[in-house]
């Protein structure tokens, strides 16, 4: 029984971290789908979400819902500005140089936040209290429920958006074939902008909902971004459902590894999985192999 409780605890805490990885992974996948680039500034959007929420509460004295809104809108604005100023002007750049641009942007954003906000770690108050809840022998916080709920909502919403609206379908069309999409009258540039909008909003949301649990600082984005990237790779880069599963699996494996094997290997487990997948199934766990037409 004790062992069972232990496993439940690991699994639940793993699922909540995994849900965050899934959200971040999803925002990687959305930009990858419409542009073919991996946006390494994604982690910074997550950091910005948490930081802006804390600033809204401590400096502007906004209530929590308004602070969340400010954080998401503010980060989205940064995401849009980033696309307009750094991605759009480079019309004929290769994906590789665009990826390098995103790395530069991430260093710039991190540096600016460090200068303006300082190097201290700060905490966001939890959304609804600090009283632990007992679930099947494990204890979780109300914040965990928020994380699960928001993640679930985002997954359902993105599924509906990408499969049942014209804009969503247009974005998917761009991911399959940009030229063909533009030939049938889809504004590819607009779709790219839209993908940056959605993914920076998603990143910010992830940053806000975990900030009460994990606290935030100018440099938290790096690790979170990498883990989200792992999740996206596991899912086969571009598959929404696969990315979510990838994130959850990654979170649970990390947590089980830390609990049952050794906590020293927690990050190593994540990156070991990443390498293994890149070697064995570079197309991702849940994606059928791609076939190139001649």
């Amino acid at each position: 029984m004790e062992f069972f409780n232990q496993i439940t605890q690991y699994a639940i805490s793993g699922l909540s971290t995994g849900a965050i990885y899934a959200l971040i992974g999803l925002s990687f996948a959305i930009i990858f789908n419409s542009t073919g680039i991996i946006n390494f500034a994604q982690g910074e959007f997550v950091m910005l979400g948490g930081v802006l929420a804390i600033v809204s509460i401590t400096a502007l004295h906004l209530p929590m819902p308004a602070a969340v809104a400010v954080a998401v809108v503010g980060t989205t604005a940064v995401g849009l500005a980033f696309e307009r100023l750094a991605i759009r002007p480079l019309k004929n750049a290769t994906p590789l140089s665009l990826i390098i641009v995103t790395i530069g942007a991430s260093i710039l954003i991190r540096g600016l936040v460090m200068l303006i906000w300082g190097k201290d770690t700060k905490a966001l108050p939890p959304f609804s209290g600090d009283t632990p809840i007992e679930v099947a022998g494990a204890t979780i916080l109300p914040q965990h429920l928020w994380i699960f709920a928001v993640t679930l909502l985002v997954i359902v919403a993105s599924r509906l958006f990408f499969h049942h609206t014209i804009t969503g379908k247009a974005m998917r069309a761009c991911s399959f074939n940009r030229r063909a999409a533009s030939l049938v009258g889809i504004g590819v540039g607009r779709m790219v902008l839209l993908s940056f909008l959605i993914s920076s909003a998603l990143g910010a949301l992830a940053g806000v909902i975990i900030a009460p649990l994990t606290m935030t600082a100018y440099d938290v984005g790096v690790m979170l971004g990498l883990k989200g990237f792992c999740a996206a790779i596991m899912g086969g880069m571009g598959s929404g459902f696969g990315t979510v599963l990838g994130g959850l699996i990654l979170g649970v494996l990390e947590s089980l590894g830390a609990g049952l094997i050794s906590s020293g290997y927690k990050d190593a487990i994540a990156f070991f999985i990443l390498l293994l997948i890149l070697f064995v199934r570079p197309q991702g766990l849940f994606k059928k192999g791609e076939t190139d037409r001649v």
Binding site: E2, Q6, Q9, Y10, S13, G14, S16, T17, K119, D120, T121, K122, A123, D130, P132, T139, I140, L141, I210, L213, T214, M215, A217, D219, V220, M223, S255, L256, A258, G259, S262, S263, G264, K266, D267
Partner: protein
Amino acid sequence: MRRILGSVSLIMLLCSANAALAAAPVKIGALFAVTGPASFLGEPEKNTLELLVKEANAKGGIKGAKIELVIYDTGGDATKAVQLANKLIKNDHVAVIVGPTTTGETMAVIPIAEKEQIPLISCAAGIKITDPVKKWVFKTPANDHVAAEKIFNQAEKLKQKNLALITVSDSFGASGREQLKAMAAKRGFKIVADEVYSPKDTDMTPQLYKIKAAKPDAVICWGTNPGPAVVAKNMHQLGLKIQLYQSHGVASKKFIELAGNEAAQGIMLPAGKLAVYHLLKKSDPQAKLLKDYADDYKKAYGVEPSTFGGYAYDGFQIIGAAVKNGAATPAQIRDEIEKQGRLVGVSGVFKMSPTDHNGLDLSAFEMVRIQNGDWTIVH
């Protein structure tokens, strides 16, 4: 005639040399990790040193000698620290170096200081720095094992025999873990769980659940923010009603703020006296100096000073005392520091000697308990 001319010029030369000696500025070099992962240490150190030098020069210098300060930012990088130490010695011709900030950088710079014969007053805590004693190397933070000993004394008093460790996997945590394990074995404590977490970890429930299963009497966490705050929060979440000890690495209000009053309640830790200076008895030798430092720092930078800034404060004090005693060259400064005797500083009361280049003992720390979001001293 030539002889007279010769002796006159000799006298003139001597005079001018003398005059130059009285007014010759003392050049202090400093290596701090102002940016990078250790910037929470390096920044207050830089601020403190700049503040002290400005104050000293406003008063006309130390015994008439102005202080010149050259600070370089190492970014916490040992390779850069070595390059900059060379630059300080060869280009800037400093008489003494304060820093570097971290143990890794200090260990890398030590061979240069020893070779070039320039006194180095490190602001890093690692015990390796001054044990064994190196001729030109001193340090101002108390050794980690002094803090560990404080915790064990308290655990002994409360009859907590079985201890669990949760330490961070960086050099601070690794050194703490080593010290704790060695000391526990020596003093008859049993380590029933030994967990680690990485500096950027955000969820420690797996480790704590394992600790829970081992049923310890107390948990000792060794790390710097934010990890220990997460540990406190997670213990609260899991409903673990076990005494939690933290290290001196989190001895600032910041920690209580991050963990939240509820989760921080009842945690005990050894804290440098700066954190609790307003609670010290009037008779405490450090009380006045700590209050002055805290007031000056707050006035200059608008924030509370941290224990870490104190390391640079003490470094400057030690040099200042040596210069006051007439030391000017690197060799003179080194010799003066070694025979300085008792010196009240921020980190404690120093008693440097040829066999102890740190000079701090158990009295450097107070055991404190967090109660309703504030410190109380445990007697």
